[in-house]
Point group: C2
Chain length 189, copies 2
Amino acid sequence: MGVSERKARQRAEREGHITAAARSIAASEGWSAVTVRRLAAEIEYTQPVLYSHFENREAIVAAVALEGFRELAIALRQAAQECAEGREAARKVATAYLAFAAEQPALYEAMFTMASSLRFAQGDARPELQDAFAALTAVVPASNGDVELATETLWAALHGLVELERSGRIRPSARNERLALVVDGLARF
Amino acid sequence: MGVSERKARQRAEREGHITAAARSIAASEGWSAVTVRRLAAEIEYTQPVLYSHFENREAIVAAVALEGFRELAIALRQAAQECAEGREAARKVATAYLAFAAEQPALYEAMFTMASSLRFAQGDARPELQDAFAALTAVVPASNGDVELATETLWAALHGLVELERSGRIRPSARNERLALVVDGLARF
DNA sequence: ACACATAATCTAGCATTGCTAGATTTTCAA
DNA sequence: TTGAAAATCTAGCAATGCTAGATTATGTGT
């Protein structure tokens, strides 16, 4: 009776195709081009099939966002490991954060602007989000009081830099200087 | 020949009704409830009339966003004047910034998340945006190097705090502590 | 007061979207 | 082979942004 296993595997595979297609279209043409019809055509099934995988369009975006959080956590951890020393590690991680957002703007948009159902201050926190948060915590020194507080603040500053630069409201040329200010000001040792 | 003046005045008045209706509906039901049909019904005209005022729906959002920037600038200036001393002034202004966003979330959303055509790093900067930026610059001390750089960074940090709190990703209860960290870290004297 | 050109407004509709009820086909076990 | 259940499709609804072309109102010149 390996039939149901095969079916489950095929279903999971198809679900992967859906999110991959969504991500790919969003990356090249923006999220407004990611329509349910377009996704259906991409995976060569009809629309109702998508709704057997996801409750609605936003759930597809949220699935992509979760992928993004997993990858962000990995990228931050990698950056942190490159260099053990405190402040330099913080700088590397912050740089990696900005690079992640800059290299995959549509993905970052899904994570922070579109997936409005993904919160994690409350109890219904998704592990992916907590994990990415933990990756940031790692470079915030415990020396200076509340670590969670410092992490939240650093995250907010980095996110603000990403958003204002993406919307063209701060000078892209000054990115590194701003980053230095943030790291020196908020990740002090 | 005061006829054309009267017509222009009535047109301007009607345009004000449109943005006011958009703002009001957005505040109470969210921007997704702000449809062109709904706005047309609200001002008791048909849809094409709206398109004689604004190029498209986004232009209506942008008009509301500009109102928001004007009001933000006023609110920040007011907060700065309450207290002349350096660091305390910065704290007041930062608090005012967060309060503005918290009290009018839909307006803030229009300003930063929706009005994608409103940028001001480039040359096509709208004066309203520059003015709000200037209100923030006022509390950043010129002592420590590049003032524009410091202002951009402070703005980004405040914006990040707003966004992450609005999306439920940082604890609302720790707002004041985070704000203190940002002010102490980025608006140093 | 009246005719007429122009400006203002409306009617009606298109194409697209997210989503779904119900028909139809496929699958697999008895 | 058959028949129930699972998987998939067809076809359509209601809502949206936007617009062409018909219609009405307005102000001017006679």
